[in-house]
Structure formats: structure tokens, C-alpha cells
């Protein structure tokens, strides 16, 4: 069995969500999705348009151009993360604590995500930490909403959540994340112990297909080199891929 880091695993799992011929994007401070986007284009999606905000893979000069592309419905896939993600598909990029007037911690926030969540056909939410504090029943602050009343204009929805231990699929009708696959060697008990919301599992949960030798090889050699050469999270790529 091949060894790989959590960052490498996440980059591979995110890359598999990219579809050929679509526009797929990630925002600023997004090294793992950036690696996933580049990997997908190298492997199964050679004609994917990829857009890594504020990098050599960003065709735009203003945030208005990015905003309107998304709003027009041209974006197939967007990758996003949050300090907290909840069962209902909401994520929080703003603040922590029960009292919104006196937050225990504040984060950069952001308003674009609240729009792109409605605009991109699919959004994959990821988190580098699978714990009870990061995956919760209700986020402390809703920066972007998973579900919407039927009479509100919305083009796209959350599609998946990916963590270092499991993947979840968003059930649009029930408007909740449901456990989809578990990354070996983790077990259902591990997921239950580390998830802050009810899993509501019926039956066996399949194992996540492990990163293949090809995926890891291309990520560690071709993509690592490309990220370093283009100054796309170069320090991260050097440190985190293939070590």
C-alpha cells in the first residue's frame, strides 16, 4: 500500500470532482484545491478550464470579472472551505462563539462565497480537520447557506464535503450532508466519534478508493514542479507534495 499525506489525499480526492470541459475554480488561500485542479487537468480533464484566484491561473484582473462569470452560471465547480461546516451544508468563514456580538475568534470572512454557493453548479466543501469542533450540527455564523427556500433564485448547490477521514454527499431533498465513503484505515466508529452531528447511517459505508500510483506520481512530480515554476503556492508545494 502506498503512503501519502493528508494534504496529498485531499488534493487527489478534490481532483476527481473536476469534470472535463467545465470551468472549475477556487478562491484565494486555496493550496489544496489548486493542486487538485492542476492534477485533474493533467489526468482526466485535459479540457477543463481551471481558475485559481490570484495566481498565474487567473485570467482576471478584477474581482468583478470573477463575480459576474460565476453569477452568469458559467462556473461548473467551486472548491471552498470554512472554519466550521454543518450538517445542513452551511459553512462559516466569519466568527466563532455562541454570542454573535462577542465572538471568541474572528476570521477574514468573505461575501463572495455566499454568492458562488448559489451560482456554481456544484460546490465541494473541504476541511483539513475532521473533528467535532469543525463539523457541527449548526455553524455559529452562516457565511454561505446550504439550502434555500424553493422560490429563491439558485443555480447550484453544495455537492460534496471532503475531509481527511471521509466524504459526504449533499442530499438536496433532505438538505443534509450524508456520509458517503470512509478513507481506510478509518472506521465508521472513528467517523462517529469525530463528527459533531448525527450521521444517520443505514447499512455499510463503502471505502474511499485510495489515491492511485498514477495520481500520486503526477501530483508529486508534474504538479509539484508546475506549482513551484509558476509561483502557485510554491512554498507549500515544495513542503507538502512528495515528502
Amino acid at each position: 500500500m502506498m503512503e501519502y499525506s493528508e494534504d496529498e489525499l485531499l488534493a487527489v480526492l478534490l481532483s476527481r470532482e473536476v469534470r472535463d470541459g467545465e470551468i472549475s475554480a477556487c478562491g484565494a488561500l486555496s493550496q489544496i484545491p489548486a493542486a487538485g485542479l492542476l492534477l485533474a487537468r493533467e489526468l482526466h480533464a485535459p479540457n477543463a478550464e481551471i481558475l485559481i484566484l490570484r495566481s498565474a491561473f487567473d485570467p482576471f484582473h478584477t474581482s468583478r470579472q470573477f463575480h459576474f462569470l460565476a453569477q452568469r452560471g458559467e462556473m461548473g465547480l467551486f472548491f471552498v472551505s470554512g472554519v466550521q461546516i454543518d450538517r445542513h451544508g452551511n459553512y462559516n468563514l466569519h466568527q466563532l462563539g455562541p454570542d454573535p456580538e462577542r465572538p471568541k475568534a474572528r476570521f477574514p470572512g468573505g461575501y463572495g462565497g455566499g454568492m458562488i454557493y448559489y451560482a456554481a453548479r456544484r460546490t465541494v466543501v473541504f476541511r483539513t480537520e475532521h473533528t467535532r469542533r469543525s463539523l457541527v450540527e449548526r455553524v455559529d455564523f452562516v457565511s454561505a447557506a446550504g439550502a434555500t427556500p424553493p422560490d429563491v433564485l439558485r443555480r447550484g448547490h453544495p455537492s460534496k464535503m471532503v475531509t481527511p477521514k471521509a466524504t459526504f454527499r449533499f442530499d438536496k431533498n433532505a438538505a443534509v450532508f450524508k456520509l458517503d465513503t470512509i478513507h481506510p484505515p478509518w472506521t465508521l466508529d472513528d467517523i462517529r466519534a469525530n463528527t459533531g452531528f448525527e450521521l444517520d447511517v443505514k447499512g455499510a459505508i463503502p471505502a474511499t478508493p485510495a489515491p492511485t500510483e498514477e495520481e500520486l506520481h503526477v501530483l508529486r512530480h508534474v504538479i509539484r514542479r508546475r506549482m513551484i515554476d509558476t509561483g502557485t503556492y510554491a512554498a507549500w508545494a515544495e513542503r507538502s507534495l512528495g515528502n
Binding site: H61, T62, S63, R64, Q71, N90, H94, P100, Y111, G114, M115, I116, Y117, Y118, A119, F141, V142, S143, A144, A145, G146, A147, T148, P149, D151, V152, L153, R154, R155
Partner: protein
């Protein structure tokens, strides 16, 4: 744009919307059914921003910083500081985002006027200074100290540049700019 509000996709269901009185949910007037957020137009009294180059007629060339074009159009009064001011921007100099002088009240020369942030194409952010700013913003006392040092106790922009813009930035950039 000169219109009172614009529809915006998204944001319904967020806590952001609860805290803003300039964005509300409205029904599409054409289909009478679908709802979106509408955002109230902003009409600032004064916009102040920094640009790469301006001329004596108030024309401004702002490189890639095209967002300020909209800001200049929306604001009643516009004050622009620029790295350099020339007699009249040539066709070649009026590249990138361009703001015609009709929108601009005042231009003033302020080399390194974006410091400690960057000015696209000319210099990047001053990372050491930014780290100091982030550290200072941890609490009120350290932020007051930051303000005293870099803003309140500084006589004018020349003194600021002399004391706080790294020396090795200034010499080559000035030689190029003038």
C-alpha cells in the same frame, strides 16, 4: 450605473444578510415569483484612492486596479494620489483601467502612496510592515501605538516615505519614475 438598486445572486439564508440594512430580499418584478437579494446603490460623497499615474487634467491611469473606475464613477467627489503626475497622459500611458478627468476633482503626487500595501506593476506590499500591522491590531493599546508612530506623529508624506519606505525600494523606483 445611476440606478437605485441591483439584484444580486445568493446570500439568502446567511447571517450576513441579517446584519445589513442595505440588502433585502425582493420579488422579480417580471415573473412576480422568484426572489433574489437586491442591494442598495452606494453613492459615496468622497472617494480617495491611489493610482499609478495621473495628469494635470485629472485623467488617471490605474493599471490593473479597475475596481476604482467604478468607485470614481459612483462618488460625488474624487481625490486621487498618484506615483507620478505628467502634463498629459499619452495614448500609450492611458493603458489598463483609465479614469477620464471629468470624474476627478483633485490629483496629488504621492510616490509610494500605497505603502505598506503595493501598487500593481511598481512595487509589492511591504511584508515586514504588514506583519507589524497585523501584530499591532491584536489590541487597542498596540494599535494606538501603531497609529501614533506611522500616522499621527508624522509631519507629512515626505517624512513618512523617508522614515518608513525601505531605502532600497526608493532609489531605483524614483530613478525610473522621474
Amino acid at each position: 450605473m445611476g440606478v437605485p438598486y441591483v439584484p444580486v445572486l445568493g446570500l439568502v439564508g446567511t447571517d450576513l444578510l441579517k446584519r445589513r440594512d442595505d440588502m433585502v430580499i425582493a420579488v422579480d418584478p417580471f415573473d412576480g415569483r422568484t426572489k433574489t437579494v437586491v442591494a442598495k446603490a452606494m453613492r459615496p460623497d468622497v472617494a480617495v484612492f491611489h493610482a499609478q499615474k495621473a495628469d494635470r487634467h485629472g485623467n488617471v491611469s490605474c493599471g490593473y486596479e479597475a475596481e476604482v473606475v467604478m468607485l470614481a464613477e459612483a462618488s460625488r467627489h474624487v481625490i486621487v494620489t498618484a506615483e507620478t503626475i505628467v502634463e498629459r497622459l499619452s495614448e500609450k500611458e492611458a493603458t489598463g483601467a483609465f479614469i477620464p478627468g471629468i470624474h476627478v476633482d483633485v490629483v496629488a503626487r504621492a510616490p509610494f502612496g500605497a505603502h505598506p500595501a503595493g501598487c500593481a506593476g511598481l512595487y509589492g506590499p511591504d511584508k515586514a510592515h504588514m506583519a507589524e500591522y497585523v501584530a499591532a491590531s491584536q489590541d487597542d493599546a498596540s494599535f494606538d501605538e501603531y497609529l501614533r508612530t506611522y500616522v499621527l506623529d508624522v509631519k507629512d508624506h515626505d517624512e513618512y516615505v523617508e522614515r518608513f519606505v525601505p531605502r532600497h525600494w526608493r532609489e531605483p523606483a524614483r530613478a525610473v519614475g522621474e
